[in-house]
Amino acid sequence: MGLKKYRGIERKQARWGFIFVVPSMLFFSLFSFYPIINAIYTSFFDKRALSKAPPKFLGLGNYIRLFDPARAANSLSFYNSLRATLVFTLGTFIPLLILSLMIAVFISNLSSNRTKKFLQISYYCPAILSSVVAATIWMIIFDPRGLGNQWINALLGTPGVDQGWLVDPVMEQVSTMVIYFWKYIGYFVILFITGLASIPPTIYEAATIDGASKWQVFWRITLPLLKPTVVLVSVMAMLQCLKTFSTQYMLYSNGAPRAPINVITFNIYVTGIQQQYLGRASAMSVVLFIMMLLLTLLQFKTTKSENVDY
């Protein structure tokens, strides 16, 4: 009898637990699962936003069009978007990863806690500005008469040369990378500092007693133990870079050429919202989704197999 009553309470509680979860389940079904299924479905149709006629079924038509080699030469093709996204992602995430790791190690080697804190907060400052504000500031720095040219010319000893930060196709891509790097460096430094702090100091003491130099300690101890953080930060940085939009949007709408910075998200926006080709934009969305899904799964796999025990 007592057991029965107990189970009754348990069942009642279980019901409450379920009720607490319902709002989230509704939300994620409606605003995550339904849209991604809808995106996959729409990507098989020639759907336009303003047409009243039922959309024509194209099968893989939209995807074939995206990857049509005949269109590769077109400067605004999806191939170009893949290239722009890849260049931006690699060009941003590799410097981000290396420099944030380096700086995190340097900061952890400092002796004064106040300096440590001050540096972390200062490096983090750009991250609190919105992407739009960040782009606006840098657009003025990159003006032909702006600080960017003045300093580069002072460094290279080439007075009066315009580097074409926002005009030249290569420099334009560099500019987007600089802006993004600037905004996120502090964030990744802090991630690494957290990772470094989780390595027990006894390991370092043991190594120092054994006569290891700082350089050896970094390569033989810090880096291997930091591997999970490195993987986490790499994937997060790559995922962030794949989603970049605001910087490219700002530069383009202020007159920079579109082709070099026509990243996938920007292409989805222009194709789907401005040109109203919803089917084609959905196909691009699905490609982006698959890319990010593969990256995330890769991260899960590596972090699971490489668990470090101290």
């Binding site: 991604i36 003025i140 702006g146 949007y249």
Partner: protein, 282 residues
């Protein structure tokens, strides 16, 4: 430990790198503040001088008046505040409720539900914005707060963070409240919520910031000037005032003040909060 204090070549190198990075991260911010008090001619003068000659207050007047003297800036920054605050509140409420349900109750399908919510973290917003845009069109909620807020009511990351935090919450407190005859919802509201302030602060800041920074979704939803948000305002202003750099910097500075204030008062939650997974909308 006198040996440690020795100044060596690697130490100088390290300090130089740290100083260079300090300069790189802070220079543009100082530039924005300094330039917002300058006329365009001063900003683009070669060589650039960092100290403004007098204060060009008219930059701020222009930034607030907007392109056609409509003071739409006030409306747009209020829109951003309303949207970001609402999203922060709903994210905290729904995520804590779900996290509590998942952490402290055993019911069938619990693990499945948690895994499914986690799976949505792999769906980037950028990949579902076109279908969401279609939903907004069907529901006819373009240019409304509902349209701006609806897709961001809660985040999978928030649920995850809340669940992790509440798993370590002592069950004895909850049981004691039950014995005292408190209802389940009352326990959530009066026992659980007040005891997870740090995680609530972190989550609220992350959600607030992601909406404050959001340009893409408002671009899709808000076409009328009255319903635009502050990133859209800055973007339009920069476009239409492209030769008035001083006013542009003033607008950028004004738009950053709320985040600066938040950062200065709650620094530890910013720094702590970034040391975990950022939400998929981040």
């Amino acid at each position: 430990m006198q040996i440690e204090r020795k100044i060596t070549l690697p130490k100088i190198g390290m300090s130089l790198v740290l100083l260079a990075m300090l300069f790189f991260t802070l220079m543009p911010i100082v530039f924005m503040i300094s330039a917002s008090f300058m006329t365009s001619r001063q900003i683009l003068r070669m060589p650039f001088s960092w100290i403004p000659e007098g204060f060009a207050w008219e930059n701020f007047a222009k930034a607030i008046q907007g392109n056609d003297q409509t003071y739409i800036f006030v409306r747009n920054i209020s829109n951003s505040l309303i949207v970001s605050t609402t999203v922060a509140v709903t994210t905290v409420l729904i995520a804590s409720l779900t996290g509590y349900g998942l952490a402290k109750f055993r019911f069938r399908g619990r693990t499945t539900i948690f895994m499914m919510i986690m799976a949505t973290m792999m769906i980037p917003f950028e990949a579902i914005m076109i279908p969401l845009y279609m939903v907004i069109m069907v529901l006819r909620i373009q240019n409304t707060y509902v349209g701006l807020i609806l897709p961001f009511l809660v985040s999978a990351f928030g649920v995850f963070q809340m669940k992790q935090y509440l798993t370590t919450f002592p069950t004895e407190f909850i049981d004691a409240a039950r014995v005292d005859g408190m209802g389940e919802f009352g326990i959530y509201l009066r026992i659980v919520l007040p005891n997870c302030k740090p995680v609530i602060a972190t989550l609220a800041i992350l959600s607030f910031r992601s909406q404050w920074d959001n340009l893409l979704w408002p671009l899709l939803v808000s076409q009328s000037d009255k319903m635009k948000t502050i990133p859209q305002y800055i973007s339009n202003f920069a476009l239409e005032r492209s030769t008035d750099e001083g006013a542009m910097m003033a607008a950028a500075l004004l738009a950053s003040i709320p985040m600066f204030l938040l950062f200065m008062s709650l620094t530890k939650y910013f720094i702590g909060g970034s040391a975990v997974y950022e939400s998929r909308k981040g």
